[in-house]
Protein backbone atom coordinates (compact mmCIF):
# COMPACT_ATOMS: atom_id res chain seq x y z
CA UNK A 1 0.00 0.00 0.00
CA UNK A 2 1.20 3.51 -0.80
CA UNK A 3 2.40 5.52 2.19
CA UNK A 4 -0.31 8.16 1.73
CA UNK A 5 -2.98 5.52 2.26
CA UNK A 6 -1.73 4.56 5.74
CA UNK A 7 -2.81 5.79 9.17
CA UNK A 8 -0.78 7.77 11.71
CA UNK A 9 -0.11 4.71 13.84
CA UNK A 10 0.91 2.60 10.85
CA UNK A 11 3.29 5.30 9.59
CA UNK A 12 4.75 5.85 13.04
CA UNK A 13 5.47 2.12 13.28
CA UNK A 14 7.29 2.30 9.94
CA UNK A 15 9.30 5.32 11.06
CA UNK A 16 10.26 3.63 14.31
CA UNK A 17 11.33 0.51 12.42
CA UNK A 18 13.41 2.62 10.04
CA UNK A 19 11.37 1.40 7.05
CA UNK A 20 10.62 4.88 5.73
CA UNK A 21 11.35 8.55 6.35
CA UNK A 22 9.25 11.64 6.99
CA UNK A 23 10.50 13.02 3.66
CA UNK A 24 9.24 9.91 1.82
CA UNK A 25 5.86 10.09 3.57
CA UNK A 26 5.46 13.76 2.62
CA UNK A 27 6.55 13.05 -0.95
CA UNK A 28 3.91 10.33 -1.22
CA UNK A 29 1.18 12.66 0.09
CA UNK A 30 2.32 15.43 -2.30
CA UNK A 31 2.19 13.03 -5.27
CA UNK A 32 -1.32 12.11 -4.24
CA UNK A 33 -2.30 15.78 -4.00
CA UNK A 34 -0.85 16.39 -7.48
CA UNK A 35 -2.87 13.47 -8.81
CA UNK A 36 -6.30 14.15 -7.30
CA UNK A 37 -6.58 17.71 -5.98
CA UNK A 38 -7.87 19.05 -9.32
CA UNK A 39 -10.86 16.74 -8.94
CA UNK A 40 -11.50 17.13 -5.19
CA UNK A 41 -10.47 20.72 -4.39
CA UNK A 42 -9.95 19.99 -0.70
CA UNK A 43 -7.40 22.76 -0.12
CA UNK A 44 -7.40 26.53 -0.22
CA UNK A 45 -3.65 26.87 0.48
CA UNK A 46 -0.84 24.32 0.21
CA UNK A 47 2.31 24.89 2.27
CA UNK A 48 4.60 22.42 0.57
CA UNK A 49 7.91 24.26 1.09
CA UNK A 50 7.37 24.74 4.81
CA UNK A 51 6.21 21.11 5.03
CA UNK A 52 9.45 19.91 3.41
CA UNK A 53 11.46 21.75 6.06
CA UNK A 54 9.27 20.24 8.81
CA UNK A 55 9.73 16.76 7.33
CA UNK A 56 13.51 17.27 7.23
CA UNK A 57 13.41 18.38 10.87
CA UNK A 58 11.34 15.29 11.70
CA UNK A 59 13.89 13.01 10.06
CA UNK A 60 16.69 14.73 11.97
CA UNK A 61 14.76 14.24 15.22
CA UNK A 62 14.21 10.55 14.42
CA UNK A 63 17.96 10.13 13.81
CA UNK A 64 18.54 11.63 17.27
CA UNK A 65 16.08 9.09 18.66
CA UNK A 66 13.44 11.71 19.46
CA UNK A 67 9.98 10.55 18.35
CA UNK A 68 7.04 12.69 19.39
CA UNK A 69 3.38 11.68 18.99
CA UNK A 70 3.09 13.09 15.45
CA UNK A 71 6.67 13.18 14.21
CA UNK A 72 6.64 13.28 10.40
CA UNK A 73 2.86 13.04 10.05
CA UNK A 74 1.39 15.14 7.18
CA UNK A 75 -1.62 16.87 8.69
CA UNK A 76 -4.07 19.37 7.16
CA UNK A 77 -5.76 22.25 8.99
CA UNK A 78 -9.21 23.66 8.36
CA UNK A 79 -8.65 27.19 7.11
CA UNK A 80 -10.34 28.69 10.17
CA UNK A 81 -7.37 27.88 12.43
CA UNK A 82 -4.83 30.69 12.60
CA UNK A 83 -1.39 29.82 11.25
CA UNK A 84 1.49 32.23 11.72
CA UNK A 85 2.66 33.56 8.35
CA UNK A 86 0.20 31.41 6.36
CA UNK A 87 -3.07 32.89 5.00
CA UNK A 88 -6.16 32.03 7.05
CA UNK A 89 -9.20 32.88 4.96
CA UNK A 90 -12.20 31.21 6.63
CA UNK A 91 -13.36 30.61 3.05
CA UNK A 92 -14.36 34.27 2.89
CA UNK A 93 -13.50 37.16 0.60
CA UNK A 94 -13.31 39.37 3.69
CA UNK A 95 -10.28 37.42 4.98
CA UNK A 96 -8.85 36.41 1.58
CA UNK A 97 -5.57 38.24 2.28
CA UNK A 98 -5.41 37.79 6.06
CA UNK A 99 -2.08 36.42 7.32
CA UNK A 100 -2.21 35.80 11.09
CA UNK A 101 0.75 36.96 13.19
CA UNK A 102 0.26 33.99 15.55
CA UNK A 103 -0.60 30.28 15.67
CA UNK A 104 -3.77 28.84 17.19
CA UNK A 105 -2.99 26.82 20.33
CA UNK A 106 -3.86 23.56 18.55
CA UNK A 107 -1.45 24.48 15.74
CA UNK A 108 1.32 25.17 18.27
CA UNK A 109 0.61 21.78 19.82
CA UNK A 110 0.76 19.97 16.47
CA UNK A 111 4.07 21.65 15.67
CA UNK A 112 5.47 20.74 19.10
CA UNK A 113 4.40 17.13 18.51
CA UNK A 114 6.43 17.00 15.29
CA UNK A 115 3.60 17.25 12.72
CA UNK A 116 4.22 18.24 9.10
CA UNK A 117 1.57 20.82 8.14
CA UNK A 118 0.65 20.33 4.49
CA UNK A 119 -1.99 22.99 4.00
CA UNK A 120 -5.22 24.76 4.83
CA UNK A 121 -8.47 23.04 3.85
CA UNK A 122 -11.63 24.42 2.31
CA UNK A 123 -14.76 25.13 4.34
CA UNK A 124 -18.12 26.81 4.16
CA UNK A 125 -17.61 30.55 4.64
CA UNK A 126 -16.89 31.13 8.35
CA UNK A 127 -17.91 27.48 8.91
CA UNK A 128 -21.55 28.37 8.15
CA UNK A 129 -22.91 25.53 6.08
CA UNK A 130 -23.25 21.78 5.67
CA UNK A 131 -21.87 21.28 2.17
CA UNK A 132 -18.67 23.36 1.68
CA UNK A 133 -20.47 25.06 -1.20
CA UNK A 134 -20.50 28.53 0.38
CA UNK A 135 -16.70 28.95 0.28
CA UNK A 136 -15.53 32.05 -1.61
CA UNK A 137 -12.89 29.76 -3.13
CA UNK A 138 -15.34 27.31 -4.71
CA UNK A 139 -16.89 24.00 -3.66
CA UNK A 140 -15.07 20.88 -2.51
CA UNK A 141 -16.22 17.60 -4.03
CA UNK A 142 -16.89 14.29 -2.32
CA UNK A 143 -14.06 11.86 -3.26
CA UNK A 144 -16.61 9.01 -3.40
CA UNK A 145 -18.75 10.81 -6.00
CA UNK A 146 -17.44 14.01 -7.52
CA UNK A 147 -20.95 15.29 -8.30
CA UNK A 148 -21.76 15.30 -4.61
CA UNK A 149 -20.92 17.52 -1.65
CA UNK A 150 -18.43 16.32 0.97
CA UNK A 151 -20.59 17.68 3.80
CA UNK A 152 -19.59 20.70 5.80
CA UNK A 153 -18.43 22.89 7.08
CA UNK A 154 -15.13 20.95 7.48
CA UNK A 155 -15.67 19.44 4.02
CA UNK A 156 -12.13 20.15 2.85
CA UNK A 157 -10.62 18.35 5.84
CA UNK A 158 -12.97 15.36 5.46
CA UNK A 159 -12.36 15.09 1.70
CA UNK A 160 -8.58 15.46 2.14
CA UNK A 161 -8.50 12.59 4.66
CA UNK A 162 -10.80 10.40 2.55
CA UNK A 163 -8.80 11.02 -0.63
CA UNK A 164 -5.46 10.42 1.16
CA UNK A 165 -4.36 14.02 0.48
CA UNK A 166 -3.16 14.10 4.10
CA UNK A 167 -2.90 11.49 6.84
CA UNK A 168 -5.24 13.30 9.23
CA UNK A 169 -6.78 16.75 9.65
CA UNK A 170 -8.25 19.15 12.15
CA UNK A 171 -11.69 20.67 11.75
CA UNK A 172 -14.12 22.65 13.85
CA UNK A 173 -17.64 21.66 14.87
CA UNK A 174 -20.37 24.16 15.80
CA UNK A 175 -23.45 22.10 14.87
CA UNK A 176 -21.93 19.00 13.29
CA UNK A 177 -19.22 20.51 11.09
CA UNK A 178 -16.69 17.76 11.89
CA UNK A 179 -19.04 14.79 12.29
CA UNK A 180 -21.39 15.32 9.31
CA UNK A 181 -18.63 15.70 6.65
CA UNK A 182 -16.66 12.85 8.25
CA UNK A 183 -19.73 10.62 7.92
CA UNK A 184 -20.39 11.69 4.33
CA UNK A 185 -16.75 11.07 3.35
CA UNK A 186 -16.35 7.76 5.21
CA UNK A 187 -13.82 8.89 7.82
CA UNK A 188 -13.74 9.22 11.62
CA UNK A 189 -14.51 12.61 13.16
CA UNK A 190 -14.70 13.72 16.78
CA UNK A 191 -16.17 16.80 18.39
CA UNK A 192 -14.71 17.00 21.89
CA UNK A 193 -16.53 18.29 24.97
CA UNK A 194 -16.91 22.07 25.03
CA UNK A 195 -13.77 23.36 26.77
CA UNK A 196 -11.71 20.18 26.17
CA UNK A 197 -9.68 21.67 23.28
CA UNK A 198 -8.54 25.29 23.22
CA UNK A 199 -10.37 27.68 20.90
CA UNK A 200 -7.52 30.22 21.01
CA UNK A 201 -6.76 31.03 17.37
CA UNK A 202 -9.92 29.33 16.08
CA UNK A 203 -11.73 32.14 14.26
CA UNK A 204 -15.00 32.48 16.18
CA UNK A 205 -18.38 31.54 14.69
CA UNK A 206 -20.64 30.75 17.68
CA UNK A 207 -18.51 30.92 20.80
CA UNK A 208 -20.68 28.79 23.10
CA UNK A 209 -20.80 25.96 20.53
CA UNK A 210 -17.46 25.91 18.64
CA UNK A 211 -14.95 23.11 19.29
CA UNK A 212 -11.82 21.96 17.42
CA UNK A 213 -11.42 18.24 16.77
CA UNK A 214 -9.76 15.56 14.61
CA UNK A 215 -10.78 13.94 11.31
CA UNK A 216 -8.87 10.70 10.82
CA UNK A 217 -8.78 7.37 8.98
CA UNK A 218 -9.51 5.35 12.11
CA UNK A 219 -10.37 5.70 15.78
CA UNK A 220 -6.83 5.02 16.98
CA UNK A 221 -5.64 8.07 15.02
CA UNK A 222 -8.41 10.14 16.60
CA UNK A 223 -7.14 9.06 20.03
CA UNK A 224 -3.57 9.98 19.05
CA UNK A 225 -4.63 13.47 17.90
CA UNK A 226 -6.81 14.00 20.97
CA UNK A 227 -3.82 13.18 23.18
CA UNK A 228 -1.98 16.05 21.46
CA UNK A 229 -4.66 18.75 21.24
CA UNK A 230 -6.70 18.28 24.45
CA UNK A 231 -5.91 20.18 27.63
CA UNK A 232 -6.13 23.45 29.48
CA UNK A 233 -5.02 26.68 27.80
CA UNK A 234 -4.55 29.75 30.01
CA UNK A 235 -5.15 31.93 26.94
CA UNK A 236 -8.72 30.69 26.55
CA UNK A 237 -11.26 31.61 29.23
CA UNK A 238 -13.63 28.66 28.66
CA UNK A 239 -10.81 26.10 28.47
CA UNK A 240 -11.44 23.32 31.00
CA UNK A 241 -8.98 22.39 33.74
CA UNK A 242 -10.20 18.78 33.79
CA UNK A 243 -7.36 16.26 33.61
CA UNK A 244 -6.70 14.67 30.19
CA UNK A 245 -6.53 10.85 30.19
CA UNK A 246 -4.44 8.83 27.72
CA UNK A 247 -7.11 8.32 25.06
CA UNK A 248 -5.20 5.39 23.56
CA UNK A 249 -5.78 3.45 26.77
CA UNK A 250 -9.48 3.17 25.77
CA UNK A 251 -8.80 1.55 22.40
CA UNK A 252 -8.93 -2.14 23.26
CA UNK A 253 -11.53 -2.26 26.01
CA UNK A 254 -14.33 -3.69 23.87
CA UNK A 255 -18.02 -3.13 24.52
CA UNK A 256 -18.85 -6.07 26.79
CA UNK A 257 -21.24 -4.71 29.41
CA UNK A 258 -21.25 -1.22 27.92
CA UNK A 259 -24.75 0.28 28.09
CA UNK A 260 -25.59 1.88 24.73
CA UNK A 261 -28.60 4.17 24.75
CA UNK A 262 -30.73 4.23 21.60
CA UNK A 263 -32.89 7.37 21.47
CA UNK A 264 -36.07 6.67 19.52
CA UNK A 265 -36.30 10.34 18.43
CA UNK A 266 -33.17 9.93 16.28
CA UNK A 267 -34.71 7.20 14.12
CA UNK A 268 -37.90 8.98 13.07
CA UNK A 269 -39.16 10.55 9.84
CA UNK A 270 -36.59 12.31 7.72
CA UNK A 271 -33.98 9.61 8.22
CA UNK A 272 -33.17 7.90 4.95
CA UNK A 273 -34.23 4.22 5.19
CA UNK A 274 -30.78 3.05 4.01
CA UNK A 275 -29.15 5.04 6.83
CA UNK A 276 -31.58 3.68 9.40
CA UNK A 277 -31.02 0.10 8.29
CA UNK A 278 -27.23 0.56 8.39
CA UNK A 279 -27.27 2.04 11.88
CA UNK A 280 -29.65 -0.63 13.17
CA UNK A 281 -27.30 -3.25 11.73
CA UNK A 282 -24.40 -1.54 13.52
CA UNK A 283 -26.36 -1.68 16.79
CA UNK A 284 -26.79 -5.41 16.19
CA UNK A 285 -23.04 -5.80 15.75
CA UNK A 286 -22.41 -3.96 19.02
CA UNK A 287 -24.99 -6.08 20.83
CA UNK A 288 -23.41 -9.26 19.48
CA UNK A 289 -20.12 -7.89 20.81
CA UNK A 290 -21.53 -7.83 24.32
CA UNK A 291 -23.01 -4.32 24.56
CA UNK A 292 -26.37 -3.85 26.24
CA UNK A 293 -28.81 -1.78 24.18
CA UNK A 294 -31.04 0.48 26.27
CA UNK A 295 -34.02 2.26 24.76
CA UNK A 296 -33.96 5.88 25.88
CA UNK A 297 -35.81 9.09 25.08
CA UNK A 298 -34.47 12.59 24.48
CA UNK A 299 -37.86 14.29 24.39
CA UNK A 300 -36.71 17.78 23.37
CA UNK A 301 -34.87 16.56 20.26
CA UNK A 302 -37.46 18.11 17.95
CA UNK A 303 -36.46 21.58 19.20
CA UNK A 304 -32.71 21.28 18.64
CA UNK A 305 -32.63 22.76 15.15
CA UNK A 306 -34.86 25.72 16.06
CA UNK A 307 -32.71 26.49 19.12
CA UNK A 308 -29.57 26.29 17.00
CA UNK A 309 -31.09 28.54 14.30
CA UNK A 310 -31.37 31.24 16.98
CA UNK A 311 -28.33 30.70 19.20
CA UNK A 312 -25.72 30.21 16.45
CA UNK A 313 -26.65 33.32 14.40
CA UNK A 314 -27.06 35.41 17.57
CA UNK A 315 -23.50 34.61 18.60
CA UNK A 316 -22.23 34.85 15.01
CA UNK A 317 -23.60 38.34 14.39
CA UNK A 318 -21.71 39.58 17.46
CA UNK A 319 -18.50 37.77 16.49
CA UNK A 320 -18.63 38.97 12.89
CA UNK A 321 -19.12 42.61 13.90
CA UNK A 322 -15.32 42.84 14.07
CA UNK A 323 -14.97 42.67 10.28
CA UNK A 324 -15.16 46.37 9.59
CA UNK A 325 -12.38 46.91 7.03
CA UNK A 326 -10.22 48.83 9.51
CA UNK A 327 -7.64 46.62 11.25
CA UNK A 328 -7.53 43.65 8.90
CA UNK A 329 -9.54 42.08 6.14
CA UNK A 330 -11.16 43.39 2.99
CA UNK A 331 -11.96 47.09 2.67
CA UNK A 332 -14.15 48.34 -0.17
CA UNK A 333 -12.33 51.27 -1.74
CA UNK A 334 -15.43 53.28 -2.63
CA UNK A 335 -16.72 54.15 0.88
CA UNK A 336 -17.86 57.81 1.07
CA UNK A 337 -17.54 58.03 4.86
CA UNK A 338 -16.86 55.65 7.74
CA UNK A 339 -20.39 54.20 7.92
CA UNK A 340 -20.53 53.74 4.17
CA UNK A 341 -17.09 52.12 4.20
CA UNK A 342 -18.30 49.60 6.84
CA UNK A 343 -21.39 48.76 4.81
CA UNK A 344 -19.63 48.49 1.47
CA UNK A 345 -16.80 46.36 2.90
CA UNK A 346 -19.09 43.96 4.76
CA UNK A 347 -21.62 43.69 1.92
CA UNK A 348 -18.93 42.88 -0.65
CA UNK A 349 -16.80 40.83 1.77
CA UNK A 350 -19.44 38.40 3.11
CA UNK A 351 -21.37 35.84 1.05
CA UNK A 352 -25.12 35.21 1.13
CA UNK A 353 -25.26 32.57 3.88
CA UNK A 354 -23.13 34.65 6.24
CA UNK A 355 -25.28 37.73 5.61
CA UNK A 356 -28.43 35.68 6.17
CA UNK A 357 -27.17 34.53 9.56
CA UNK A 358 -25.98 38.02 10.55
CA UNK A 359 -29.46 39.39 9.82
CA UNK A 360 -31.21 36.56 11.70
CA UNK A 361 -28.86 36.99 14.66
CA UNK A 362 -29.29 40.74 14.77
CA UNK A 363 -33.06 40.33 14.53
CA UNK A 364 -33.46 37.74 17.32
CA UNK A 365 -31.32 39.85 19.65
CA UNK A 366 -33.08 43.13 18.88
CA UNK A 367 -35.30 44.68 21.53
CA UNK A 368 -38.86 43.42 21.30
CA UNK A 369 -37.77 40.04 19.92
CA UNK A 370 -35.03 39.06 22.39
CA UNK A 371 -37.46 37.48 24.90
CA UNK A 372 -39.48 35.61 22.30
CA UNK A 373 -36.53 34.22 20.41
CA UNK A 374 -33.12 34.23 22.11
CA UNK A 375 -34.31 33.84 25.69
CA UNK A 376 -36.87 31.16 24.87
CA UNK A 377 -34.22 29.32 22.82
CA UNK A 378 -31.81 29.45 25.77
CA UNK A 379 -34.48 27.97 28.06
CA UNK A 380 -35.16 25.13 25.65
CA UNK A 381 -31.39 24.63 25.39
CA UNK A 382 -31.36 23.97 29.14
CA UNK A 383 -34.06 21.32 28.63
CA UNK A 384 -32.01 19.67 25.88
CA UNK A 385 -29.05 19.52 28.26
CA UNK A 386 -31.30 18.07 30.97
CA UNK A 387 -32.50 15.34 28.56
CA UNK A 388 -28.88 14.19 28.16
CA UNK A 389 -28.14 14.38 31.91
CA UNK A 390 -31.10 12.11 32.53
CA UNK A 391 -30.26 9.74 29.66
CA UNK A 392 -26.69 9.25 30.92
CA UNK A 393 -27.97 7.93 34.24
CA UNK A 394 -29.26 4.92 32.25
CA UNK A 395 -26.53 4.42 29.65
CA UNK A 396 -22.80 5.00 29.11
CA UNK A 397 -22.95 6.19 25.51
CA UNK A 398 -25.73 7.01 23.05
CA UNK A 399 -25.74 5.69 19.47
CA UNK A 400 -27.50 7.40 16.55
CA UNK A 401 -27.07 7.97 12.83
CA UNK A 402 -24.66 10.89 12.21
CA UNK A 403 -26.43 12.40 9.21
CA UNK A 404 -30.02 11.73 8.11
CA UNK A 405 -28.86 11.06 4.55
CA UNK A 406 -25.70 10.17 2.65
CA UNK A 407 -24.01 12.90 0.56
CA UNK A 408 -26.42 14.93 -1.57
CA UNK A 409 -25.72 16.48 -4.98
CA UNK A 410 -23.90 19.76 -5.41
CA UNK A 411 -26.48 22.53 -5.77
CA UNK A 412 -29.34 20.42 -4.44
CA UNK A 413 -29.98 22.40 -1.24
CA UNK A 414 -28.05 25.63 -1.72
CA UNK A 415 -31.16 27.78 -2.35
CA UNK A 416 -33.20 26.25 0.47
CA UNK A 417 -31.52 27.24 3.77
CA UNK A 418 -33.93 25.29 5.99
CA UNK A 419 -33.41 22.09 4.01
CA UNK A 420 -29.65 22.64 4.26
CA UNK A 421 -29.90 23.17 8.04
CA UNK A 422 -31.74 19.82 8.35
CA UNK A 423 -28.45 18.11 7.35
CA UNK A 424 -27.26 18.76 10.91
CA UNK A 425 -30.40 17.71 12.74
CA UNK A 426 -28.71 14.72 14.46
CA UNK A 427 -25.46 16.47 15.41
CA UNK A 428 -26.59 19.86 16.75
CA UNK A 429 -27.74 18.55 20.13
CA UNK A 430 -24.18 17.71 21.24
CA UNK A 431 -23.05 21.30 20.63
CA UNK A 432 -26.04 22.76 22.45
CA UNK A 433 -25.44 20.45 25.44
CA UNK A 434 -21.64 20.84 25.28
CA UNK A 435 -21.05 17.06 25.19
CA UNK A 436 -18.64 15.11 22.97
CA UNK A 437 -19.52 13.05 19.90
CA UNK A 438 -17.72 10.82 17.44
CA UNK A 439 -18.71 9.44 14.05
CA UNK A 440 -17.33 6.20 12.64
CA UNK A 441 -18.06 4.78 9.16
CA UNK A 442 -20.82 2.14 9.20
CA UNK A 443 -21.07 0.96 5.63
CA UNK A 444 -22.14 2.18 2.21
CA UNK A 445 -25.43 2.88 0.46
CA UNK A 446 -26.41 0.82 -2.57
CA UNK A 447 -25.10 3.76 -4.59
CA UNK A 448 -21.67 3.42 -2.96
CA UNK A 449 -21.81 6.41 -0.59
CA UNK A 450 -20.46 6.13 2.97
CA UNK A 451 -22.68 6.44 6.06
CA UNK A 452 -21.78 7.25 9.66
CA UNK A 453 -22.66 5.92 13.11
CA UNK A 454 -22.55 8.57 15.86
CA UNK A 455 -21.79 7.97 19.53
CA UNK A 456 -22.43 10.65 22.16
CA UNK A 457 -21.22 10.62 25.78
CA UNK A 458 -21.38 12.77 28.88
CA UNK A 459 -19.08 15.77 29.27
CA UNK A 460 -15.36 14.83 29.32
CA UNK A 461 -16.14 11.18 28.51
CA UNK A 462 -14.29 11.19 25.15
CA UNK A 463 -12.61 7.98 26.36
CA UNK A 464 -15.94 6.14 26.17
CA UNK A 465 -16.39 7.36 22.59
CA UNK A 466 -12.94 6.06 21.67
CA UNK A 467 -13.80 2.77 23.37
CA UNK A 468 -17.15 2.33 21.60
CA UNK A 469 -15.87 3.59 18.24
CA UNK A 470 -12.78 1.42 18.24
CA UNK A 471 -14.79 -1.64 19.31
CA UNK A 472 -17.30 -1.12 16.51
CA UNK A 473 -14.50 -0.62 13.99
CA UNK A 474 -12.98 -3.96 15.01
CA UNK A 475 -16.24 -5.90 15.27
CA UNK A 476 -17.51 -4.67 11.88
CA UNK A 477 -14.06 -4.78 10.25
CA UNK A 478 -14.70 -1.36 8.69
CA UNK A 479 -10.99 -0.69 8.07
CA UNK A 480 -10.54 -3.46 5.46
CA UNK A 481 -13.99 -2.68 3.99
CA UNK A 482 -13.12 0.97 3.35
CA UNK A 483 -9.67 0.11 2.00
CA UNK A 484 -11.20 -2.31 -0.50
CA UNK A 485 -13.97 0.12 -1.49
CA UNK A 486 -11.38 2.85 -2.03
CA UNK A 487 -9.44 0.67 -4.43
CA UNK A 488 -12.52 -0.50 -6.28
CA UNK A 489 -14.95 2.41 -6.20
CA UNK A 490 -13.32 5.76 -5.50
CA UNK A 491 -13.38 7.64 -8.83
CA UNK A 492 -9.99 9.33 -8.44
CA UNK A 493 -7.47 7.07 -10.14
Amino acid sequence: MELHALTIHELQDKLRAGETTAADILASVCRRIDAVEDKVHAYITLTREAAELQAAAADAAIRRGEMEALTGMPIALKDILCTRGVPTTCGSRILADFVPPYDATVVEKLRAAGAVLVGKTNLDEFAMGSSTETSYFGATRNPWDLDRIPGGSSGGSAAAVAADECVAALGSDTGGSIRQPAALCGVVGMKPTYGRVSRFGLVAFASSLDQVGPLTKDVEDAAILMNVIAGHDPREATSATVEVPDYRSFLNRGVAGLRIGVPREYFLAGIDPEVRVAVEAALGVLEAGGARLVEISLPHTEYCLAVYCIVAPAEACSNLARYDGVRYGFRAPEGRDLLDMYKQSRSAGFGAEVKRRIVIGTYVLSSGYYEAYYKQASRVRALIRRDFDQAFTRCDVIATPTSPTAAFRIGERIDDPLKMYLSDILTISANLAGIPGITVPCGFTAGGLPMGLQFLAGAFQEGLLIQAGAAYETLAATGPLIARRKRERMPLD
Binding site: V99, S208, H300, I310, S347, T362, V380, A382
Partner: protein, 96 residues
Amino acid sequence: MARITREEVAHVAHLARLTFREEELDKFTSQLNDILLYMDKLNSADTAGVAPMTHAAVRGNAFREDVTTPSLAPGESLANAPDSRGEFFRVPKVIE
Protein backbone atom coordinates in the same frame (compact mmCIF):
# COMPACT_ATOMS: atom_id res chain seq x y z
CA MET B 1 -48.65 35.78 8.44
CA ALA B 2 -45.29 37.34 7.59
CA ARG B 3 -42.94 37.32 10.55
CA ILE B 4 -40.63 39.93 9.10
CA THR B 5 -41.31 42.56 6.43
CA ARG B 6 -39.04 43.77 3.67
CA GLU B 7 -38.62 47.08 5.50
CA GLU B 8 -37.63 45.29 8.72
CA VAL B 9 -35.02 43.24 6.88
CA ALA B 10 -33.59 46.46 5.43
CA HIS B 11 -33.56 48.05 8.89
CA VAL B 12 -31.89 45.06 10.55
CA ALA B 13 -29.35 44.99 7.72
CA HIS B 14 -28.55 48.64 8.46
CA LEU B 15 -28.08 47.81 12.16
CA ALA B 16 -25.66 45.05 11.12
CA ARG B 17 -23.88 47.42 8.71
CA LEU B 18 -24.95 45.59 5.57
CA THR B 19 -26.70 46.79 2.44
CA PHE B 20 -28.76 44.58 0.15
CA ARG B 21 -29.67 44.99 -3.49
CA GLU B 22 -33.40 44.97 -4.28
CA GLU B 23 -33.46 41.36 -5.46
CA GLU B 24 -31.38 40.24 -2.46
CA LEU B 25 -33.87 41.95 -0.17
CA ASP B 26 -36.78 40.05 -1.75
CA LYS B 27 -35.01 36.70 -1.50
CA PHE B 28 -33.80 37.23 2.07
CA THR B 29 -37.21 38.42 3.28
CA SER B 30 -38.84 35.28 1.94
CA GLN B 31 -36.11 32.97 3.31
CA LEU B 32 -36.04 34.67 6.73
CA ASN B 33 -39.82 34.32 6.99
CA ASP B 34 -39.52 30.57 6.43
CA ILE B 35 -36.82 30.34 9.10
CA LEU B 36 -38.68 32.50 11.65
CA LEU B 37 -41.85 30.51 11.03
CA TYR B 38 -39.91 27.34 11.80
CA MET B 39 -38.69 28.90 15.06
CA ASP B 40 -42.31 29.30 16.23
CA LYS B 41 -42.07 25.66 17.17
CA LEU B 42 -40.18 26.73 20.30
CA ASN B 43 -43.37 28.26 21.71
CA SER B 44 -44.80 24.79 22.19
CA ALA B 45 -42.00 23.83 24.61
CA ASP B 46 -42.96 24.16 28.28
CA THR B 47 -40.19 26.29 29.76
CA ALA B 48 -41.98 27.53 32.88
CA GLY B 49 -39.41 27.91 35.66
CA VAL B 50 -36.47 26.88 33.44
CA ALA B 51 -33.38 29.08 33.74
CA PRO B 52 -31.85 30.01 30.36
CA MET B 53 -28.64 28.20 29.42
CA THR B 54 -26.36 30.53 27.49
CA HIS B 55 -23.17 28.54 27.81
CA ALA B 56 -21.96 24.96 28.17
CA ALA B 57 -18.90 25.83 30.27
CA VAL B 58 -19.39 25.09 33.94
CA ARG B 59 -16.64 27.17 35.46
CA GLY B 60 -16.93 30.78 36.58
CA ASN B 61 -14.46 33.50 35.72
CA ALA B 62 -11.02 32.38 34.58
CA PHE B 63 -8.59 34.57 36.48
CA ARG B 64 -4.86 34.82 35.83
CA GLU B 65 -1.99 36.62 37.51
CA ASP B 66 -1.74 40.26 36.51
CA VAL B 67 1.66 40.12 34.86
CA THR B 68 2.76 41.56 31.54
CA THR B 69 3.69 39.12 28.79
CA PRO B 70 5.11 39.86 25.33
CA SER B 71 2.59 41.17 22.81
CA LEU B 72 2.71 41.87 19.09
CA ALA B 73 5.03 44.58 17.82
CA PRO B 74 3.23 47.55 16.18
CA GLY B 75 4.49 46.51 12.76
CA GLU B 76 2.98 43.03 13.15
CA SER B 77 -0.32 44.45 14.40
CA LEU B 78 -0.54 46.76 11.40
CA ALA B 79 0.64 44.25 8.80
CA ASN B 80 -2.90 43.22 7.83
CA ALA B 81 -4.37 46.73 7.81
CA PRO B 82 -5.99 47.74 4.50
CA ASP B 83 -4.68 51.27 5.07
CA SER B 84 -2.19 52.43 7.67
CA ARG B 85 0.21 55.30 8.21
CA GLY B 86 3.01 55.25 10.76
CA GLU B 87 1.64 53.45 13.80
CA PHE B 88 -2.00 54.17 12.98
CA PHE B 89 -4.92 52.60 11.12
CA ARG B 90 -6.34 55.03 8.56
CA VAL B 91 -10.11 55.30 7.99
CA PRO B 92 -12.30 57.60 5.87
CA LYS B 93 -13.08 60.97 7.42
CA VAL B 94 -15.31 60.61 10.50
CA ILE B 95 -16.00 64.24 11.44
CA GLU B 96 -16.89 66.93 8.93
